[in-house]
Subunit: 391 residues, 2 copies
């Protein structure tokens, strides 16, 4: 069998998060390991109303094959919203609907990477992006992530290699919860202007800022080879798998469109009609405000519980939005070794390892705060604190 | 820009069908070019009832992230149906839900192919399979397709090359509408038993047999490296993008599952609940019987119209099911050159070229008969006949 498999699939790690899903879903276990939105973010009643309306209004169109780029009306909605919020000047031709942001990562890897090509990523970065790009067997050049975002000197040094693209998550980064500062965004933009590379800005959480002011994108609308990713997974429903990819580069979009056609012809057209109809007929900003208020409370409960139960040698980030925070243990401690002990205490997290392309036995871990109530968060952090004090 | 693109995407042709979609969708044009199921195959009212039921019964589960392999209940339904109809012994662990069969083709390419690896395909074969595999830059070894299916001597000869898999569409093949004979299936199985290659049987139309007796699969349940593809696109709704991949090889399934995770995490879970609920609560066999009766009539209208309007030098296949038939023009005629002239006469088809990996200006064309009523089919064939007689 082994000799029938591709080198690409052999080079691609399975997802740690998915591999522990079973252990973490034991009803006794308090899990901070997943990245599930709180179900309160799914406007179920309104979505059911939209379903009835679109079936009655559009009939067979919501069930038939459709075009690869996605429902024009939904793409127009996205163009309008990104103009209003971010000042981007877009038409529907700048937007491709993807089957979740994950498909966008897969398409980017396919369209840009050959074996051995360079990819610059944050250190640490989103584990499923590492997976998606690994399929093409690139060389990863990880650049340190600071409190202000990707380190500019590190970026400049990494760009000395033959690099195809730079992958960044500027807002409430996964896994760290960190947000790039305004000053650092400008510096990174200046550096990128001097290089022929694609900048990927992955922004699944940008709408979920519960503190501070929204900052401009780094490259979107400014760089010639810029791709911006967005999704409705965190604001409407992840189960429908509807994300989107924005670029002003027509050639790039044309190639991504071919890869998308090859990947699944088009994204579920019913789901596209559904989300468009929901957005058009409901107060989306008010809905998002409710999600943000909830996540703000849950994040604060987690941070306050950490202040109370964690030993002072353990540090953590203070996110201004999104779904995750990042814990750093004392030097030399391995979060991976801690994981089975935590499971014994009925609490789960994701050890740092899968978020790095070049580090094992990391002293870091990712915690998710969006999918548990305050009491459960406090109890889970108490259990984790007990374990950390035993270190 | 060019130097930023991957070799894989540069090697992948855009879909001819999708590129002519706009021309073919001119309301005056009678199009036999697409591959759209007749909307009568979408049980809209029953699907709307199922939507209401699953939202009420399963609540947030139909909107949340879900597992990569797919809804266990839907996989169990598929296992039971394939046991009842084909005698295959399957558990849910043999089945992965895919985002349409197209995703399955994409995953197979990723998991099995490196640049230069061999792939055996029918000559002609499904154009989107050529696209999907092309992304990995394999060497294609096309083997002639006869009235009985893939030519066994041709297969044996092609297997002398370093080949990873053989791709076949045994029932109502796309594009030809041909079905492999029972005798040829046995011969092909015997040949494949002697080689360490994966056999992909792509069966999107198997349920749509409107004449003759169902024949057994070639490799499913018999070969150690066998993959069978199926879909609900042709029997329930294509817009929902729900297909499935069946194998008894655990190692292969595990790798495909990683590739699927990377590709889009999981298939739209709402769509999976929806199709499962629909199947469970309705008479699916009766629904399929209605589709078959309609397609039988439409196919016969097309064939009778060809007998009447086509010159006798033009030959065509007589499908026993599925959605397509295949027309062969006199030697030396190019269907591709005919295409713009046909558009002038307001009728569209797909010229043979994109179904071959090694032929251009082919004297063949694919016609679809499922998405037009009898009168329209007769009129379209009359227009095409006028053109063919001018040749």
């Amino acid at each position: 069998m082994e000799n029938l498999l591709s080198e690409g699939i052999k080079a691609t790690p399975p997802s740690f998060v998915r591999s522990i899903l079973k252990a973490a879903s034991d009803p006794g276990v308090i899990s901070f390991a997943g990245g599930l939105p709180n179900p309160v973010s799914f406007p179920q009643e309104a979505l059911l109303t939209s379903m009835e309306r679109i079936v009655k209004t559009y009939g067979s169109h919501v069930f038939q094959y459709s075009i690869t780029a996605g429902l024009p009306e939904l793409r127009q909605y996205i163009a309008d919203r990104y103009h209003r919020i971010f000042g981007l000047n877009l038409t529907i031709d700048n937007i491709i609907i993807t089957t979740g942001s994950q498909q966008a990562l897969d398409l980017i890897g396919k369209v840009l990477l050959d074996k051995g090509d360079g990819v610059i990523v944050e250190k640490p970065t989103y584990l499923a992006a590492i997976q998606a790009f690994s399929m093409q067997q690139p060389n990863f050049y990880p650049v340190a992530l600071t409190e202000e975002g990707m380190n500019p000197e590190g970026l400049e040094a990494a760009l000395q290699n033959p690099v195809k693209f730079v992958y960044m998550i500027p807002d409430f980064q996964n896994p760290t919860g960190l947000t790039y500062s305004a000053r650092n965004r400008s510096r990174l933009l200046e550096i990128l202007r001097d290089h022929e590379v694609v900048l990927i800005e992955d922004d699944p959480y940008g709408e979920l800022r519960f503190e501070g002011e929204r900052l401009p994108y780094i490259g979107a609308g400014k760089l010639p080879y810029s791709i911006l990713l967005g999704t409705f997974s965190k604001t409407v429903t992840p189960g429908m798998r509807v994300g989107f990819l924005i670029s002003e580069n027509k050639e790039l979009l044309q190639k991504i469109s071919i890869a998308k056609e090859v990947g699944n012809l088009h994204t579920n057209i019913f789901a596209q009609y559904l989300i468009w109809d929901y957005l058009k007929n409901n107060d989306f900003d008010m809905h998002i405000a409710k999600i943000k208020e909830l996540y703000r409370k849950q994040a604060h409960t987690m941070m306050e519980s950490m202040d109370r139960y964690f030993p002072p040698t353990v540090k953590y980030t203070r996110p201004q939005g999104g779904m995750f925070l990042w814990v750093t243990l004392p030097e030399g401690a391995s979060a991976m070794s801690l994981f089975p002990k935590a499971l014994e205490k009925k609490v789960a997290f994701v050890p740092g390892d899968p978020f790095y392309t070049d580090i094992r036995s990391a002293n870091t871990m990712r915690l998710n705060y969006t999918n548990a109530d305050s009491e459960t968060i406090a109890e889970g952090i108490r259990r984790l604190g007990d374990l950390l004090r035993e270190l």
